[in-house]
Every structure is written in structure tokens, then in C-alpha cells.
């Protein structure tokens, strides 16, 4: 039977020749991830299982990133609990302030993941690593606890959707726009329980960073995972990391898809998702007089060095609008350093932005840029739910980096074209 990449990875980790949609299987995991919100409940559940060791000290990654550097006493307690757990069980990969980053920016960069891996993380955006040709999905804290104890996870084999992108991207259209467009087309539950495979000439031309942005938001369409074939670009990217290339799987020509979306994306504009759903997308030219109080550039979706370069290109020798704050959130320490080397940090600070240490911060309404009642932010993050960035009566508009940077200058939502 013809299989897709996702099915092949799942079958391999379940010790089976093949798997089919709907099948419930138990899989061995290559990596288990948790953050400062989801690890504490997982640690409590782990204690209840009553095992003396974790399944593998090298395969558990604990990354405090959401409220770090600790924003208050309670969040400090949470990280303390992780730190003590890591010490007690000899967990090698615990990343404290100083070497941390936003988990989904950090792990690919440090070479924690290779093609063909099976990764679970107690964070919904764990789907990011599908960009590297791995099966990667978000689970809850109890699943994380169980996997830390047993090295296994139960998985329902998802049905498959395929997205083929053709054509040539217009100026200022980024990977982010492809995924926003996709979610706009199929809705926030358009891929519920399903696997989203991204392919086509446009994808092949995209950088690995761009693919990470797309896979990151598979969950915003309800997807179980996003997946890309690890082509030459990915292989080259992986070979430079500690992880190495891994096993490259390809979908068989006759593989079965529940639906194939075949889109020519030459005509799409930068997309803006209006409150309060990521599927509420409009082309940027439809944004008329949407005044904003804040622009947030960064997060696990768009906080990589490529993104910072786009921001700097637009903000160079410009000033952000005086009625607004512009907050820059680099994904990792390495990215922060690279920004300094390239003069990006200086460009951005001169323009009037604040450049933060890596943290999730305002992306989930944690700290570092919370919105007041009635305020509005444009953000390169991935969710614009009610109250996501602060007050329940505040609003978040999602966009790519170029639009967020241009809007910071204009004071309202615009395309860089309109500057």
C-alpha cells in the first residue's frame, strides 16, 4: 500500500510495516519537550506513575520560555520546579536563561531534531518541526509525563491533506502569508485531526526558516502535524547541525489523500488575520484605517534571523509612529547575537523599537507588552483569540514581518508598498 511521509514515520516508530488512518498505535518517541507552563503539571503526573528513572536522559528537552525571565513569583516557582526535576533525573537538555530561546526556534537551531524523527511536545506549536521532515505534534502534560516515563505515546493515525503551492510569490509575500491564506481557505478546524503535507514548486523555493513558519501554524487549522519532505535544502540545513540529516521519507506517488488543495499563489497579497480567529484573513489592501497601538515582531512563528532581517530592512533610517510601541522578540540567544553582528539590533533600536531577550512574552499575553482595554496590536505571532495578548477587549491582527514593520511606521495596518 502506498504511504505518505507521516504514515511512514508513524509505522516505523510503532514497529509496523504500514499504518492507515484511524488506527490507534503506540509509538516510540525520539524527543519529548515541555515548557514552563506545561512541565509543572507533567512533573506532578510523572511522580504519580512511580518510576525511578526517565526513559532517556538525553531525549527530554525542558525549555522555560513562556514567562521567562520569571515575570513574577509564581512563574519563578514553576521554573524552579523544572530545574529541580532536571537535576534530580539528570536531564541533560534543560535550557535556562542565558542559553534558552523560544522552544520551537531553539530546538531546530541547536540540532535537536532530524528528518524522520517522532517528536511530541507539551506545546501545541510542536508541529513546527514537521518542516524538517519529522513527525511532530503537540500533546498535553499527562502525555508528556507518560512519555518521559515510558518513551512512548499513543497516536491515532491521521488522515492526510495535501497542499500544493504553485506560481511565483509577489513582493512582500512571505511563508507566513501562505499559511495564513491556507487557514483562511480551510478554516480553524479545516484540518482537525489531520496531517497537512506541504509541497509544490513554491515550497521547494522557500528557505527552511520559511517552512518552519508554515509548519508552526498547522495547529491553527486544527492539524495534528504539518509535514514537508526533507529535500536538498533541508538536508543541507540538518547536516550543519548536531542532529545530522536523519532518515528522509518521501510520500509514495499513489498515496491516499483525503483532499488535495492545488493553489496558484502568484496573486495572493500579504494576508492579515483579523480578530479573533487566525482564519479571519483578508488581503492587506483591504485594511483601511485600522489604527494600532503596538506591533510585535518575533515569536516561534516569525522570530528567526530571516525575519529580523526583513524588519531591519523596512525600519532602517525610519522612525516608528509616535503613538505606538514596537516590540521585537528574537527567537534565541544565537539570533540575538547574529542581530548584533549584522547591526540589526542597532537599526531597530534607532527606529524606536524595544529589542527583548528571547521569550514568549506578549504572544500569549504573558508579559513584556500586554495590551490594555480597547488596544490593538499587529503581530507576527500565530494566534489572535480573545484576550490572547492582554485585556479581553483588546485585539490582535496577525501578519507577516514586512507588514508588521511597515504598520509600525505608519501607525495603522499597511503593506510596505504603501510607505
Amino acid at each position: 500500500m502506498s504511504q505518505t511521509i507521516t504514515q511512514k514515520i508513524l509505522a516505523k516508530h510503532a514497529g509496523l510495516k504500514k499504518v492507515g488512518p484511524g488506527q490507534l498505535i503506540s509509538c516510540k518517541v525520539d524527543l519529548v519537550l515541555g515548557n514552563d507552563i506545561t512541565s509543572p503539571p507533567a512533573i506532578k503526573q510523572f511522580a504519580k506513575i512511580g518510576v525511578r528513572k526517565v526513559f532517556d536522559k538525553n531525549k527530554i528537552y525542558l525549555v522555560p520560555d513562556h514567562f521567562t525571565p520569571a515575570k513574577d513569583i509564581k512563574s519563578a516557582q514553576q521554573v524552579k520546579m523544572m530545574r529541580e526535576f532536571a537535576k534530580k533525573y539528570g536531564i541533560v537538555n534543560f535550557f535556562e536563561i542565558g542559553c534558552m530561546g523560544i522552544e520551537h526556534a531553539l530546538l531546530p537551531e541547536m540540532g535537536a531534531i532530524k528528518a524522520g524523527d517522532l517528536v511530541i511536545g507539551a506545546d501545541s506549536h510542536t508541529c513546527t518541526y514537521g518542516a524538517l521532515g519529522a513527525f511532530s505534534t503537540g500533546v498535553g502534560s499527562t502525555d508528556m509525563a507518560a512519555a518521559m516515563a515510558t518513551g512512548e505515546v499513543w497516536i491515532k493515525v491521521p488522515e492526510q491533506l495535501k497542499f500544493v503551492f504553485k506560481g511565483n510569490l509577489a513582493k512582500w509575500v512571505e511563508a507566513k502569508d501562505l499559511i495564513l491564506y491556507t487557514i483562511g481557505q480551510i478554516g480553524v478546524d479545516g484540518a482537525r485531526y489531520m496531517s497537512m503535507e506541504f509541497t509544490g514548486p513554491v515550497i521547494r523555493k522557500l528557505s527552511v526558516e520559511g517552512r518552519l513558519t508554515i509548519a508552526n501554524m498547522a495547529i491553527e487549522a486544527g492539524g495534528k502535524n504539518g509535514i514537508f519532505e526533507a529535500d536538498e535544502k533541508t538536508q543541507a540545513y540538518l547536516k550543519k547541525t548536531k542532529a545530522g540529516q536523519g532518515i528522509v521519507y518521501k510520500s509514495d506517488p499513489g498515496a491516499n489523500y483525503k483532499m488535495v488543495y492545488d493553489w496558484d499563489v502568484s496573486k495572493i497579497e500579504p494576508q492579515v488575520a483579523f480578530p479573533h480567529l487566525p482564519s479571519n484573513t483578508n488581503p492587506v489592501s483591504k485594511c483601511k484605517n485600522i489604527k494600532i497601538n503596538q506591533s510585535v515582531i518575533g515569536s516561534c512563528t516569525n522570530g528567526r534571523i530571516e525575519d529580523m532581517r526583513v524588519a531591519a530592512k523596512i525600519l532602517k533610517n525610519k522612525k516608528i509612529h509616535r503613538d505606538l510601541r514596537c516590540i521585537i522578540l528574537p527567537g534565541t540567544q544565537e539570533i540575538s547575537m547574529q542581530m548584533i553582528r549584522e547591526g540589526i539590533t542597532e537599526t531597530l533600536i534607532k527606529a524606536g523599537c524595544v529589542v527583548s531577550t528571547p521569550t514568549c512574552g506578549p504572544c500569549l499575553g504573558g508579559h513584556m507588552g500586554i495590551l490594555a482595554e480597547g488596544e490593538r496590536s499587529i503581530a507576527t505571532t500565530n494566534r489572535n483569540f480573545v484576550g490572547r495578548m492582554g485585556h479581553p477587549k483588546s485585539e490582535v491582527y496577525l501578519s507577516n514581518v514586512a507588514v508588521a514593520a511597515a504598520s509600525a511606521i505608519a501607525g495603522h495596518i499597511v503593506s510596505p508598498e504603501a510607505l
Binding site: L24, I37, T38, P40, P41, K44, Q45, K48, I49, G50, V51, H66, F67, K71, D72, K74, S75, Q78, G121, A122, D123, S124, T126, G138, V139, G140, S141, T142, D143, A145, A146, A149, T150, W154, V188, D189, R192, Y193, I219, G222, K224, L277, L364, G365, G366, R383, F385, V386, G387, R388, G390, P392
Partner: protein, 162 residues
């Protein structure tokens, strides 16, 4: 189980169920105090122990925070009945033992304030107010085992002993 129904719409996301500003703790009773706050700020004071939530499509979409089902369970919600559930919420609810039931008909026809009676083993939802009976989608055998064991942790403990 018998209780009153609170109705919510489609795509009730985890930020509505428990806003991230309260996630600096994982204490169930603290979380319960803010449950559904951004969907209905007064819900916590209105609801009674044993009440039900009936909602539309894609309940629990968004983040993987297990704090969402934990908050609902600690708030005393007997079960959630929805047209459909988001994937991670579905796993989490089963893993921690918060009863969930999928029934489009029940979600369409049951109204806010109705009294309902639920038999989880049979998957039966009886509307005491309107006398209608609905049946939820049955769980696959593996999940029935998980539910019977009282969640994933107990299930693993049991299978370890064997």
C-alpha cells in the same frame, strides 16, 4: 449525573477556557476560579457543581494547556458535550478523566438552562426538560480502556504491574 446546561458556541479556544495570564500556576482550584472568564466573566459565580457545558464545533482549540480540562474539572463541570472537539483537548480530557461526549444533535437541540441526565457508560444524554434522548459517538476500544482506568497515568500504572 444530572445537572443544568450552559451553552457556548463554536471554536471555544483554550485561551477562553483559561486565559494565559493565570497559567503561572497549575493549582486546579486556582485555575477553576478563572474558568471561562474571557467567554463569560460571571460564569464561575453562576455555575453550580455538576453542571454541564454544551458547545458547538472544535471545542478546546488552540494551545495544548492541560490547564483547560483541569480548570473545567475543578470547576465542577460534570461533562462537556460538543459537536466536535479539538485534537489536543480531546486527548487531554481523556488523559485526566474529564468526561467528554460528541453529539451534534444534542449540541443543536439542548438549550441553555435545560436539565440533562447523562449515562457515560451508555453514552446516553437525556434532556429532562424536553424528554429527548441522544446518543454520543462511542469511543474506540483503546480509549474506553483509558477512560475505565481513570486516565492515562492509572492505565500505565496498571499495565506496568502486569
Amino acid at each position: 449525573m444530572q445537572g443544568k446546561v450552559w451553552k457556548f458556541g463554536d471554536n471555544i479556544d483554550t485561551d477562553l477556557i483559561i486565559p494565559a495570564r493565570y497559567l503561572n500556576t497549575s493549582d486546579p482550584s486556582e485555575l477553576a476560579e478563572h474558568c471561562m472568564e474571557d467567554a463569560d466573566p460571571n460564569w464561575v459565580s453562576k455555575k453550580e457543581k455538576g453542571d454541564f457545558i454544551v458547545a458547538g464545533e472544535n471545542f478546546g482549540c488552540g494551545s495544548s494547556r492541560e490547564h483547560a480540562p483541569i480548570a473545567l474539572k475543578a470547576a465542577g463541570v460534570s461533562a462537556i458535550i460538543a459537536k466536535s472537539f479539538a485534537r489536543i483537548f480531546y486527548r487531554n480530557a481523556i488523559n485526566i478523566g474529564l468526561p467528554i461526549m460528541e453529539s451534534e444533535e444534542a449540541a443543536n437541540e439542548i438549550k441553555e438552562g435545560d436539565k440533562i441526565e447523562v449515562d457515560l457508560a451508555k453514552g446516553e444524554i437525556k434532556n429532562v426538560s424536553s424528554k429527548m434522548i441522544y446518543y454520543a459517538q462511542p469511543f474506540p476500544p483503546f480509549m474506553q480502556k483509558l477512560i475505565k482506568a481513570g486516565g492515562l497515568i492509572n492505565y500505565i500504572k496498571k499495565s506496568k504491574r502486569r
